[in-house]
Symmetry: C2
Subunit: 499 residues, 2 copies
């Protein structure tokens, strides 16, 4: 039986080992999740919200929080301050999805009185067990108790998470916290399960018990799972949120404050040693601004150093810089990686805009603290470059201020490319609120209409069902006349809302 | 150059010929649609609603309506009353989607004021050109100006429709009506286009200009398009609504009025010569009810005769009955097809419930006026049979009345299987209203969360985009402070609705 070995990135030495789940055990866990699905679906949103709040409270219990942060730091080297903040964020997200579940808009409850006298009503129903593949780079907030798990539970679906090979021990500890909290909160048995190992992951996607897959990670990993799911007899949705090059457009007005922009860009693309899926990977500045040089100077001034999560990521970052150079980019500035363990050298490369053409390696993500800078001669060339880019999670515009005449044009040009446009803000902060959209056109995600963060994250795990002529007592609660779940509804042309 | 030949199903003789669109012309039409996309997207929902209403009015202009119905009848043999009703439905749908567009809920406009002071806002943006493959069986309501086209235009997307090979001349006439109406209404040039021919269809799915595909038809056709789309470099969504076996459960109470249920079943499964995607194809009645015999008698009493749309459908219906017999079903009653042209024999078959097992031909749709009847011994066997069925568009329960104690259980059992549950109503009527859900689990559709009928049909052709820190003037209208499109919005935790 093989096992996931967890390493300390600061030294590269192994320090924990988590055994792979056996095929029989994976099948058992998935079968139990399927058996739990009806009870999880029948629990009211307020009840499920209670479960999420108990998990959040458990994570923040001081001894638990300390132990989780310490373990996370040993497995990821992301550092105590970042991980302490991320734990608070994880608890905050769980509580946010609890609020969203209770509010009930996501159910889309709609009641029509047809001319025939029949009532036709529609509500979203939970899909069933969701397989969650968490991210390497956010071991807590996008991990086994991150946005995917929280929104799936909020929507009424059992969750089976896969332990991440970069932090298997943390994954296990988080699962123990969740299981104990769910039991204490009175959730049905097997509302949450954990499996470990590559084969367990594949088995989750092919199992007839799995209703949907949520994934955060690389294009290679996400597309592989998507292809497996597309080969099933009954195809299931895969919501894969993947890495992309998130472009930044500096307007001529923005170029007037280029040092400021360059410092912000360096801070954003080296944050967490560049291990953000929203990392801005390409800065497009007006010709003659000398942007590459200014960004290089900002990098030298900041001199960021850090470890990455795995030996593979360290290797890929090094190889990525070489590949970018082979494709026509030139290194402008580079800060050496730490002398021990798995580091990555923060690197700025300059590239001629004409090289940014579909199919070039320059347009693919280089995970780690690596970014490109190019200059565009005019709006026509800027539009031409943007037309070549892959779909991305986020795109940013750096302007000369609120009255910059070029802002609207740049925003409009980015909309078809991205899931989120930011103006004079860096894309690496992702708020978990009602309006958030964390997704984007293919290949940023496999499901461009879906979001993995924000209130609409619940939609991924539900499916609308219409009920025609069904007696009130046989309707789901959200559609019954008495509205026992107290959710907002549309009744014919009226919106029937609660305070 | 090949051509689509249109036949009169009553005689099987050819009567019109429509040339295939050349590859160059297909590319030109798609390029023009892509060029029109920004202008179509920028038009306000009220403006787009105006376009839809002008198309609806044009369809109902008396001379046009008469010519369309006559042409449709020559190509489909569906008869004047049905086609006259379907034309009215088509115009009604266009006006409904106009109302939905204007109302604006579908935009999902959401505005958050973050603690940092930043505004984060989210709205659905049109995807771009939509390729529409209409249905054979509803040449008007699900044809080139049917639900897909109407909802795509309402959502702000140009449409390129494919002429249906079973009614190519009608497709062309409808396109002419649409183009003239759109020009009169002041819509951007190339808001609507039409192509013809098999290769043109493939080219629509592979073109870089196409943003989404909508299809109504057979599993074979829909899955073929989905596979082509999945093989693209930039994968696009395919919303294929396909044929399924829509099950009907008769409760013990419902069996008390079995003659009534049988007559309704026969009326529903032979409607339009069985060419409905919502045709109830399997009746499950309590053991000892003698349901197969009673349904057979009802078929003999009704003695329905009719033509089907194409020679292929006629052939497949005959072959389908033979295949069902080979798989263990027995013919209980059969009404001979008309003596001329392309008819199909209305047929009731009985089958032992134990034969209804995953993988059996018995569980696949037989398009045409053909249905199975099986008896279940108890709730356990009923649940076992339902667990074997494929996902379906609709499922029905026939009860003993509003107080039938078995209704709720049957409804609950059908929910995981279908997109719509009807009680004491037959599934073949599909209302186009706010609450409608015309979709269902794989393989009823390739996108089980989507609907091809009803207000939510617009969602298929839009994608949410978030705007962070974007100045008011650079925001899309639905998110601007002044709310110039006057759409319902969520602002932080409040729902901000208009009368």
């Amino acid at each position: 039986m093989s096992a996931a070995v967890s390493y300390d990135p600061r030294t590269g030495r192994p320090h924990e080992e988590v055994a792979d789940t056996t095929p029989n055990e994976v099948a058992r866990v998935l079968g139990l999740a399927a058996a739990a699905a009806p009870a999880v679906a029948q629990a009211s949103p307020a009840t499920r919200a209670g479960w999420l709040r108990v998990i959040a409270d458990s994570l923040e219990e001081p001894a638990t929080a300390r132990a989780l942060v310490e373990l996370a730091d040993r497995e990821t080297a992301l550092g105590d301050p970042r991980l302490t903040g991320e734990l608070a964020r994880t608890a905050g997200q769980l509580r946010f999805y609890a609020t969203v579940a209770e509010e009930g808009s996501w159910l889309g409850a709609t009641v029509d009185h047809l001319d025939s006298g029949t009532v036709l009503a529609r509500v979203r129903a939970p899909l069933g067990p969701v397989a969650v593949f968490g991210a390497s780079n956010f071991p807590l907030a996008f991990g086994v108790l991150g946005n995917d798990t929280a929104s799936a539970l909020a929507a009424g679906c059992p969750v089976i998470a896969k332990a991440h090979p970069a932090h298997p021990a943390l994954s296990q500890s988080l699962a123990e916290v969740a299981r104990a909290a769910l039991a204490r909160a009175g959730a049905p048995d097997n509302t949450f399960g954990l499996v470990a190992g590559f084969d367990a992951g594949t088995a989750m996607v092919t199992s007839r018990h799995t209703a949907a897959v949520a994934f955060t990670g690389s294009q290679r990993g996400g597309l592989a799972l998507w292809r497996i799911a597309c080969g099933r007899e009954v195809v299931i949705p895969v919501f894969a949120e993947m890495g992309t090059v998130n472009p930044v457009v500096v307007t001529p007005g923005g170029a007037q404050r280029l040092e400021d922009v360059a410092a912000g860009f360096v801070g954003s693309f080296t944050l967490g040693t560049g291990q953000y899926c929203t990392k801005p990977g390409l800065l497009l500045a007006p010709a003659g601004s000398g942007a590459a040089k200014v960004v290089g100077e900002a990098l030298n001034a900041a001199s960021p150093q850090g470890w990455v999560l795995t030996e593979q990521i360290a290797h890929d970052a090094r190889a990525g810089v070489e590949a970018l150079m082979a494709a026509g980019a030139e290194v402008v500035a580079q800060i050496a990686a730490p002398g021990s363990g798995w580091g990555a050298a923060a690197t700025v490369l300059a590239v001629p805009a004409q090289r940014l053409r579909r199919g070039s390696r320059l347009l693919e993500e280089c995970f780690g603290p690596v970014a490109l800078v190019a200059e565009y001669s005019d709006e026509v060339e800027l539009a031409a470059v943007l037309a070549e880019l892959q779909g991305a999670l986020a795109g940013s515009v750096m302007t000369g201020g609120p009255d910059d005449p070029d802002t609207a044009g740049a925003v409009t040009a980015l909309v078809p490319l991205v899931g989120r446009v930011t103006v004079d803000e860096w894309p690496t902060g992702v708020a978990w609120t009602w309006a958030q959209q964390h997704g984007g056109p293919w290949p940023a995600t496999t499901a461009p209409t879906a979001t993995s963060v924000g209130a609409a994250a619940l939609d991924r795990f539900t499916r609308p069902v219409a009920f025609q002529g069904v007696p009130d007592a046989a309707l789901p609660p959200a559609l019954q006349k008495a509205n026992p779940w107290d959710v907002p509804r549309r009744v014919d042309t009226d919106l029937e809302f609660r305070p």
